[in-house]
Symmetry: D2
Subunit: 102 residues, 4 copies
């Protein structure tokens, strides 16, 4: 499976963006895929095609009323690994030997 | 149209990656889309679906013999704008009032 | 203040990276700055110079035994705003009108 | 040495950003470091501290009249390698066995 982190920023809406972020997050929450939001983006776990479909839905939802949109995406693909959305955090906490802020 | 910049890094192949980068670049060059390579990634111009199809082809080409792959992608969508792969550079050179290194 | 999200990936260590991630996270946790880890990176809040100093410390800690390192960083600067590491998530949840997965 | 690619986007200036990009590019061009602009960002080669100083100068130049700024940065550090701003492109062209668009 693959982890995808992304953020979508319309550039013609001024400095307050939470309305547009919320629109994308509603789509993500409805997708049924496991995800976590953080202050700089959202991490979703799924198969490659599921993730690109979700990204497309979010883009389409903002494209309809934005002139210019900036999207940043990172993928972390690991063959044969699932549940990484939880296990990566567990694994680094164990290696660090301390409880970290999640 | 949309500009997409991306880089694909297999994490289980050591520090020398040009063979894998070349594999992706051959796919990009064959796609017929306009693109430019730079020392940190490749910028391609196209419609959203064309760009995601190209990204998927590059991912599939590396997935077959990599355990772990990191992909970084940025999109710059501008409604009604095409040819931005050239015009953005022209535009900033004019605004800067000098010739910049391309 | 500024939010910085970053991830540091040594490219010559194979597919298992949690030991190196843990080394950086220990430095972040010791810094006294507020932070949150997520499955794809770490978000830290601070003044610009504090954030770049922290990034440098993490880089130096991995540089000493890595041949090649890839670092990805995003900054979100908002004039006159502090506590964004918490308030951004609150704000999008309110706008979405539902509880989202953190 | 290290390659740094970055883009700086003020979020409160609307969809036309070339004036702000040009302001940063003038600083980069004056820095004396080797760089290349591309349609999605600028790649600069230098030592770690030189690169962070340059990034700070560009941030300060936009911070003075922006409420909110998004910055995206990637670093590619290779121990003992210099001139990568040219050699990376040469190397992938050789591996691809064809002339690619720069």
């Amino acid at each position: 499976m693959t982890l995808m982190e992304f953020s979508i920023i319309p550039l013609d809406k001024g400095a307050g963006l939470s309305e547009y972020v919320a629109r994308a997050l509603t789509i993500i929450d409805d997708s049924g895929l496991d995800y976590r939001i953080n202050p700089m983006g959202t991490v979703v776990e799924g198969e490659w095609d599921q993730l690109l479909n979700l990204l497309t839905k979010c883009f389409r939802a903002l494209e309809k009323d934005s002139e210019r949109i900036n999207i940043q995406v990172k993928f972390d693909y690991r063959k044969g690994v699932s549940g990484a959305i939880n296990s990566k955090i567990r694994s680094v906490q164990e290696k660090a030997g301390r409880r970290l802020k999640i």
